[in-house]
Point group: C2
Chain length 400, copies 2
């Protein structure tokens, strides 16, 4: 990475211009940096006709904390490579990579400025009828085609090494599975939540379940994950869905991605109790959120089984009914991981605007109590869900 | 590997002599090749005083089949590196590496000529009172210290890549989990076993269990395995035990090594029905074999829990009672893998002399019927074993 230099607007513009690939030779280009993420610079380069591309560049530290938290630039290589791998099997719902340069830790991506980030939309109670089906398709195809069902073993072993992502995985390992369950300077929750947090930190039954999930995260290389499927990593509009930002990508347990998505929908579900005061409108939004979770679980299952049925190349894994067992196991894992997402977003370092954006302190606290208990209960009971129906029934029983 | 050349006695002797490390400068050295393995040359270089070292060199093909089955020389690097890693945490029971050269795919090892290969000894009904305890210690320490309980995540991820072993793993993937359960040219069994084999190849319940085991083998990186702990990979004498030949080493499910050992003891148990005609003597040998299996399971468990209790560095995995859960899961996996070892050694490509060395054809066939059914039943029922006691009880109920 000897040639690395962090870009400003001018450098980003010049870099794109000299590629001579995306705009007419005499185009009048403008550039502005609009990244609000924690780890990267994001520039939009546009010509006078409104054609745009996005240049995303990794910074050698976590932007939210500052230069004191160094972070590998290799994540830019990983992110571009995961987008390409996922795009190769699920082009419709994966943001498109137009150019990459791992020395400069940058990727040029299609502009998705006509779409919006899902989290903000959900916070505004906007609904997306195609989202559930499209995310299910994305999660099922990307996880199937990079699993042992499809990849040849030697090919997969090589990819596991190519996508070894120790620094970004360490963030998840610490923030999802360690910090919330013990005293940590990085934890962040309001004082009135303290007694609830102490109970959680003393619940040894819960800690065993979290250990099982962490062990899976550490030692299961089921498929090439996105690694960070929260509602801030998804662009939406009325028709379509595009998944972005897989810099946490690695070979891990498939349930982690599915669980992250479910966890974020449940966070928003709880948040709506304080966001929408009008009961019928609130019920409508919450019904949408639950229906979408159900749809994602059901269509993920159906698509996975159909892919397994048509495309499984591994002889042993072709065993009749084995794919059903495998998918049920993924869903079980996913509920556990969803629980850890709820817990860590409530009392850990990184929160979500769904909850933290609730202005009324009392109302926000009530939501936080709900997300914490819901997360805890999901982790505790995930293993009782033996198939997609019982998984959804468990969720319903816990949110009501 | 541009400089690779397969050694003869003279080259092996000269190579060792020019190292000037192991013998007096004017020593009168002799060398003879005595390998009876399938994949390697093995030379013993000795001086006139009886001092010896072993030079083991990988051949670029599987010796048993011929040059038509090419096989990576990288396995020599893996083998030496696993011996060093295992030796670093379990010096007493791991063969010592004195020198290695990955270009020439060779390793110089301590001579163990005063010891004997376990398989031959068991076939002669010789017993080793320390073996169970020492193998349990080897399996527990090597698997604990390279697991997520002890290694830092980034350190482990780097080792997973260093020990990626696709070609040797492919042999196991094919021979353990695929071939025996379907028609394959590589399968090898006597015609009278055909109807039993057909039943096994139509048992879909069994195939689901085998798929679960194969999926674990393909995607669980729990620890740095030996990868081939059969009774031909263990040197013994009255006092001690030395494990050799980890060229199949990789990061895999811990139960695989434990299961391979148990499977080999059960193969010998069944073989003794035809090997020892005198009932009390046979019973004595079989009691020794079962007692050793029990001891290995019990001491493996006790040692693992004690190591976990003292040395677990991962915060989440320190959760009270999680290590018990984890070890019980290893034992469950081990019984399944033991079952696959029995099946593949009976009807797959590579057999064991315990069974194939039985001269009387009818008696041998009876043993093969027993090993096949025992293997099948172990695979089918392994998951019912919820701890070390029930695991051993399951074995007892199936062999009687």
């Amino acid at each position: 990475m000897a040639d690395y230099i962090a870009f400003d607007n001018e450098r980003a513009l010049n870099y794109v211009a000299q590629l001579n690939e995306f705009f007419a030779p005499n185009a009048q280009l403008t550039c502005n940096e609009f990244g609000d993420g924690n780890l990267n610079l994001v520039f939009r380069i546009a010509d006078e006709n409104g054609n745009c591309v996005i240049l995303k560049q990794a910074l050698p530290y976590a932007r939210c904390v500052g230069e004191s938290w160094p972070l590998t630039l290799d994540r830019a290589r990983i992110e571009a490579a995961v987008l390409e791998k996922h795009g190769a099997v699920c082009e419709s719902f994966t943001a498109k990579v137009l150019h990459k340069n791992s020395e400069l830790a940058l990727t040029i991506l299609e502009d998705l400025g006509h779409m919006a980030i899902l989290r903000g939309e959900l916070n505004q109670a906007t609904t997306f009828p195609n989202l559930g089906s499209q995310i299910a398709h994305y999660l099922a195809t990307t996880s199937f085609f990079y699993s042992d069902f499809y990849l040849k073993p030697a090919e997969k072993k090589a990819l596991v090494c190519e996508f070894t992502n120790p620094e970004l995985c360490a963030i998840t390992e610490d923030l999802f599975f360690d910090d919330p369950y013990r005293t940590s300077d990085r934890n962040n929750y309001p004082t009135p939540l303290k007694s609830e947090v102490e109970k959680l930190q003393q619940n040894t039954e819960l800690h065993i379940k979290v250990a099982k999930l962490k062990q899976l995260f550490l030692s299961s290389t089921q498929s090439l994950l996105h690694g960070d499927v929260h509602s801030g990593s998804i662009f939406v509009d009325a028709q379509s869905t595009k998944v972005i930002d897989p810099e946490f990508g690695f070979f891990g347990p498939i349930g982690f991605d599915l669980g992250s998505f479910i966890g974020n929908f449940l966070l928003n579900y709880c948040a709506q109790n304080a966001r929408i005061s009008e009961i019928p409108k609130r019920r409508q939004m919450q019904t949408y959120l639950l229906t979408t979770i159900q749809q994602v679980i059901n269509e993920f299952t159906a698509t996975w089984l159909s892919l397994a049925n048509q495309h499984t190349r591994d002889l042993s894994l072709q065993a009749p009914r084995y794919a059903e067992y495998f998918v049920n196991q993924i869903i079980k894992d996913a509920l556990g991981f969803a629980g850890t997402e709820l817990v860590r977003r409530t009392i850990g370092l990184a929160h979500v605007s769904d909850v933290d954006g609730i202005e009324d302190e009392t109302a926000r606290l009530q939501v936080q109590q709900q997300t914490l208990i819901l997360g805890e209960q999901l982790i505790l009971h995930a293993e009782t869900a033996h198939d997609k129906e019982s998984a959804f029934n468990l969720i319903i029983s816990l949110v009501q």
